[in-house]
Amino acid sequence: MRALRYLRRRRRPHTDSAVLACEAVVELVQLYLDGATDDLTSEEVGHHLDMCRRCGLQADVYLQIKATLAANRPVPDDAVERLRRFGEQLAVHGLPGSP
């Protein structure tokens, strides 16, 4: 994708080459949350969101929008069932491997 290559070049100067600038992350964050960025870009965007509170909060708002919009989408029942059981185990017995 040409847009991605362009954004990659706009890294913040004079810092770690792996640090994307906020303006690049703002352009990439929705792609990232849609699972549409490649591994390296995902790593870089995720790292930025971890370190930058503003971009992190923005990403969280998009996740909440996603959660709201997806509310009626079917999910695999068996996966939900397994996760519920996992959660119930946690609630009853605590963390695996701890007394």
Binding site: D39, L49, Q64, A70, G87
Partner: protein, 186 residues
Amino acid sequence: MAAAHDHPALTDEAAFELYVLPEVEVLLRVALSMTRNAADAEDLVQDTMLRAFRGISRFDGRYPRAWLLTILRNAHVNRNRRRRPELLRDADAGTSLLETQTPDDSAEEVAVGQTFDHVVEDALARLPDRYRRVVELVDMEGLSYRGAAESLGVPVGTVMSRLHRARRRIRDQLIASGLVSAGSRR
């Protein structure tokens, strides 16, 4: 043991049942759209639940969904990192800024609930048809960019730009209604 959440009598285990278990389906939906892979999504939600359990005593009980989605995002970063161990770099610790902050710090800025859903619905209804259609296909029905592009007979790039602009408008609407902070608004 007693926990910090709103119900002083609640044990961590009870708090986990009350705040986390009802959100499992929501978390799985979001995880599916982030990972585009059923097995990865399930693992990611499991990771999220473990982290939530470890952090539940510090959770104050407000906006559990927002709290859990932040945890999910952090868990996702660490999973990417694990897949690419050569990229560990300085970010080894893996505890992120938001996760270590006091819970009400971020809850203050991101309110969720019926009002949130209502503003999202309202913003969606106000979008021009061609934008709303893309949101419906991708976010509500779960199609990929490519799937939406085929269904609409437009290029994938068009789907992406319409979708991203549409969500940005929804977010702007949330900011305008005071439900979320402006943050890095553009």
